[in-house]
Amino acid sequence: MARTAVTILAACGLVALAGCGQPTSGTRPSGGGRARTVTIKGSDTMVILCQRWAEIYMHHNPGVTVQVTGGGSGTGIAALINGGTDICAASRPMKDKEKEQIKARHGKDTTEIPVALDGLTVYVNDANGVEQLTRLELAAIYQCRITDWKDVGGAPGRIVCYGRENSSGTYQYFKEHVLQNKDFATEVQSLPGTAAIINAVLKDKSAIGYGGKGYETKGVKELRVSTKAGEPGTLPSLDNVLTGAYPLSRKLFFYTAGEPAGEAKAFIEWVLGEEGQKVCEQVGYYPMPRK
């Protein structure tokens, strides 16, 4: 019996040692045989969109591999500068300084390709009397500096904030653009998915939540959002998002160093084509306006 135990332990130890010997990061492809690979790195917000694009594109073109990695727009831009990715996905425009870095490193100009539009929507319960909020009020609510609806023109009652998990791109966008990169209050409840947020807002008269435009249903109300106090707020309709009148609307970009070439070019052309743009709406974003 003792001998058996020793054998087992030895086997465990051996396997454990073998496991330790391997490098931890296994994300890079080891085989260099496949030439037709496109890598996309960057924005977390766009990971779902890019993955869907990649899936469908790979389905149509069996020989091509499209690798999608998140990590944030900053990570993607850094990777483009260092030459670690073919395409950088970013939910914010690239800064001039970053473009200069790419020029210095690669001797090429950066190509900016807007691929989709996004209008982040703020939801409240239908029974809520509040119709519009300024961006600063929204920030104060999600940092628990305003905790009562009566302070923003509603009926008295505690504001219950719902948000997304911190792995979510929507969370990142809201944090960047509404909270100006400050932290959410710890009291903000995070739910797994926009659908859960919408459901919570539906059930809870004192709730506020945010999420994609596509999730609107009966029983919840979209809030008008304004940039400054006193200005009329706007709704995230297609027109308002297109003109930029809605403060939480933004373009989602692809960046490449120099003109896109080879397989990346074919992929980007497909993304901007009819089928690629249709995917935007399935995922909850708006397609780019047709010229």
Binding site: T4, I8, A11, C12, V15, A16, G19, C20, T24, S25, T27, D44, V47, G70, G71, T75, R158, V160, E165, N166, S167, S168, Y171, Q172, K175, N181, D183, F184, T186, E187, V188, Q189, S190, L191, P192, A196, N199, A200, K203, D204, S206, A207
Partner: protein
Amino acid sequence: MRAGGVLSDAPEVTSEAARATTGADARVTTSPLVRKSGGAVSDRIAAYLIRGCACLAIVSLVLIFVFIGKEALPVFTSGEVRQEAGMTRLFLPAAEKPAFAWQPVSEPPRYSLLPLLLGTLKVTLIAVVVAIPLAVAAALFTSEFAPPWLREIIKPAIELLAGIPSVVIGFFCLMVVAGWLQQAFGWTFRLNAVTAGSGLSLAVIPIVYTMAEDAFTAVPRAFREGSLAMGASRWQTAWRIVLPASSAGLLAACVLGFGRAIGETMIVLMASGNAAVLSLSPADSVRTFSATIAAELGEVVVGSSHYHVLFFIGAFLFVLTFLTNLAGHWWIGRLQRRLQGAS
């Protein structure tokens, strides 16, 4: 018995063994298997296979722990990770406000584990406090008082509860139970520790019930008959004889229920609100260890301090349940020795 023939033929061995476990003449049939066979190769292979299966469980357990431990280790060893998520930052109050915050995407990230630990314990405690009395009472009723036909309905019904996927229970809590509880108690937050805890108790009840029922059934008939013969009522027999006599089994049921509650992910992820607030109130939202791992591991950057902290949480949960089980077993052993000494 035709011992030699049985042993040289593997299929027949298994059929004999199967009959042995079910049949009444178990002892007679198994005896040739227990005896040294002396040379039947297939028999020896079968024995090794069975032993291998048993060892596989242990090996995989050890390997899982080695893997989690390896990924969690940088929290202690890597200088870079320790700067952002050393032990002091994980457990001690920070200088900024709030002192204990779980804000892994903040600049700089903040990884205080205390709100998560408190949340996990709060939800688990609520689930266990709700589930154990209900499950034990139900088991006592079915084994001691219920007429056979009723027992045949209740037992499968409760055991069927274990078959409900936890995501369904979580969804039910999120959609329905949260509304009921909020209306009944007038809480500000729909999703809170009690909502999640009561959902969790639905997952714990079948486990505790089944184990408790087995424990009650295992109490020798002679105990009950003796008690009834002495003039005790059925209620007295159940309360004073059957319950204490099965205490070891009941404790095992509780330990298993606790383990299930602390590790359950989907129900708490959906019904607890996931806000990492440091509060003792059961009406506040909570964020548990398991829900944190589930929500954040999917998109974390591999090799970042956030990644290693999540694995540290996993290892911490593993050790926590392991210690609970260990303590439970020690206590069960003590109870059993005492009972055997008394009888």
